[in-house]
Amino acid sequence: MKNRLLWPVLALVALLVLNVVVTPSFFSLRLQDGHLYGSVIDILRNGAPTLLIALGMTLVIATRGIDLSVGAVAAIAGAVTCTYIASGGDPWIGMGIALLLCAVLGLWNGFLVSVLGIQPIIATLVLMTAGRGIAMLITEGQIITVDSPTYREVGAGFLVLPIAILISLAVLGLVALVTRRTALGLLIESVGVNPSASRLAGVKSRTIIWTVYVFAAVCAGIAGLMISSNVSAADANSAGLWIEMDAILAVVIGGTSLAGGRYSLTGTLLGALIIQTLTTTVYTVGIAPEITLVFKAIVVIAVCLMQAPIRIRVRQGVPA
């Protein structure tokens, strides 16, 4: 466990040290009107949606699945809520409807994967492609702006700390509690190792797979609310674009294998932080923002190659 998290931790520490060297005031925080401000808080706040989606993704990947549709689902959640609020509805009911719809989309993904037995990558590709179309259908291709103080709180509000990060951390705590304090985590991992064997052993693998996809979709929905509430607008085209890739990267950097069967929530937290810190670092260090992606590619490859099991395999000379 320690070994697996060593490289992600080192990468994060290296990034933070780099930041402190360049901007000595990096860790300084200040309290203003009861709100905490500072670079670290910014990283946490901007990373909240990615972390949330990565949490859902972790459980999906642990069952040897993958969910490509989360970005589109996030866009749908924002679109539904903003359209509802813009037509004079109550923000809370709007968010409720959006999350309910996301749960239904999760059920759909789960149905394709667990009942029809379609490969997860292609099953969720359907919703990834169609989902953005659906989001645009809801907003009729417009960017819907809303003016609702209640809704704005979700993404931009503060409760000393930004509310967005509090939500993400609460979900992290909840998932950790539910999966690691009960047998659920073990069951999820057993489904990832061998779905049919675990079914024969009495694990309801179908229900478990179904549950993780619904959970991932709801997480994506909440993240979508954060993204759209942060700017008080729903942009069906670009909200949550490529966030599924960031989330998958966060999960993989955190040491969860795409082959399923084991997962690390701490790793996912680290992974999400690394990705967000990386983006911020590029700005603070003064590297041209254009090459953020090059930087990201290098870090991803480096962390993936450094992770222990791969190195052992190389030393033994056994190609995977």
């Binding site: 990558i121 919703l127 590619a297 190389v314 190609p319």
Partner: protein, 334 residues
């Protein structure tokens, strides 16, 4: 995962006629039927839809996507995936535009672009094979890298003014019946034929199918799996670079935000064309028809006029679903 569909006929179910056709051809035939059907709907609804030129335009507007889908087919046949193709297309347009602006001769630019794409493919294939990192992650990193390098070259759109490129882009070939096509279409068709030759008539091609069916069995049979596993990414990288060149002819500019999400179009075309993402099953020609189906849907929606562009996405999603369902039925029957 799912075993490759065996050539044995299905027993009953689909009826006598269908059971005589080897089931591995069924998805391709289904794709073709969908293509004819969508084109038929267009011809019935709109005057002038069923003309040779509309058909030729399908090829002209999708020449680059055909080339991409061919490369993607190789990768998917081995059970891998290449997410970097869209970014490599953008990078290719960027390199081409920047180098031409710097006054390089056109032939050198073409060679450099193709070498860059193949080189990136080689690097990704090597990492995937040697270090056992998931193709999904490696090519995702490749996608970020290529897209990032575009921005390094230039943030602005660079237009192409080179006379050779301009001539190639605007030049057209007259076919009998007054139909004209571009040189891009010819290149795309040559790529398709070359790919079919490699896949079906060479040792490399047979090994691609073998690796997709079962990599360990292929290795135990003494096939050179290493060469194939790395080779398919080189082919995909080469095709992406070539697709990028065709795209730069089509747009006559290099821009970092060209071809965003094109990898998904290519994957969708391959899946609609009847290939299994788990590998071992599929045909290049299926992917080509897959591209044509996607292109026809876009043409239909533009002919309709009142329908908005997002319907394209929804229809493509629905088509993907239909083909996956069809694949499931066929795989279960064999």
């Amino acid at each position: 995962m799912t075993p490759p569909a065996k050539p044995a006929g299905t027993s009953g179910g689909f009826g006598q006629v269908v059971s005589k056709v080897p089931s591995r051809f069924l998805p391709v035939i289904a794709t073709f039927v969908v293509f004819v059907a969508t084109f038929g709907v267009g011809s019935a609804r709109y005057e002038g839809f069923a003309s040779g030129q509309v058909m030729a335009n399908l090829f002209i507007d999708n020449a680059f996507l055909i080339v991409l889908a061919v490369g993607m087919t190789f990768v998917i046949l081995t059970g891998g995936i290449d997410l970097s193709v869209g970014s490599v297309v953008a990078l290719s347009t960027m390199i081409a535009a920047a180098a031409l602006q710097a006054g390089w001769p056109a032939w050198l630019v073409v060679i450099v672009v193709l070498a860059a794409g193949s080189g990136l493919g080689l690097a990704m294939g090597w990492v995937i094979h040697r270090f056992g990192v998931q193709p999904f992650i490696v090519t995702l990193a490749g996608m970020f890298l290529a897209r990032g390098l575009c921005f390094v070259i230039s943030v602005e759109s660079v237009s192409i003014k080179n006379p050779t490129f301009r001539d190639l882009a605007t030049g057209s070939i007259e076919l009998p019946g007054g139909v004209t096509i571009t040189y891009g279409v010819v290149i795309a068709l040559v790529v398709v034929i070359a790919a079919m030759y490699v896949l079906h008539l060479t040792r490399f091609g047979r090994t691609v199918y073998a690796v997709g069916g079962s990599e360990s069995s292929a290795r135990l049979m003494g096939l050179s799996t290493t060469r194939v596993k790395i080779g398919v990414y080189v082919i995909s990288g080469f095709c992406s670079a070539l697709g990028g060149l065709l795209f730069s002819l089509y747009m006559l500019s290099g821009y970092s935000l060209h071809a965003v999400g094109m990898e998904l179009d290519a994957i969708a075309a391959v899946v609609v064309g009847g290939s299994l993402l788990s590998g071992g099953v599929g045909f290049v020609i299926g992917s080509v028809v897959g591209v044509l189906v996607l292109g026809t849907i876009q043409t239909l929606i533009s002919f309709e006029g009142t329908l908005s562009s997002w319907w394209t996405k929804i229809v493509i999603g629905a088509l993907l679903l239909a083909f996956i369902a069809l694949q499931r039925i066929i795989v279960r029957k064999t």
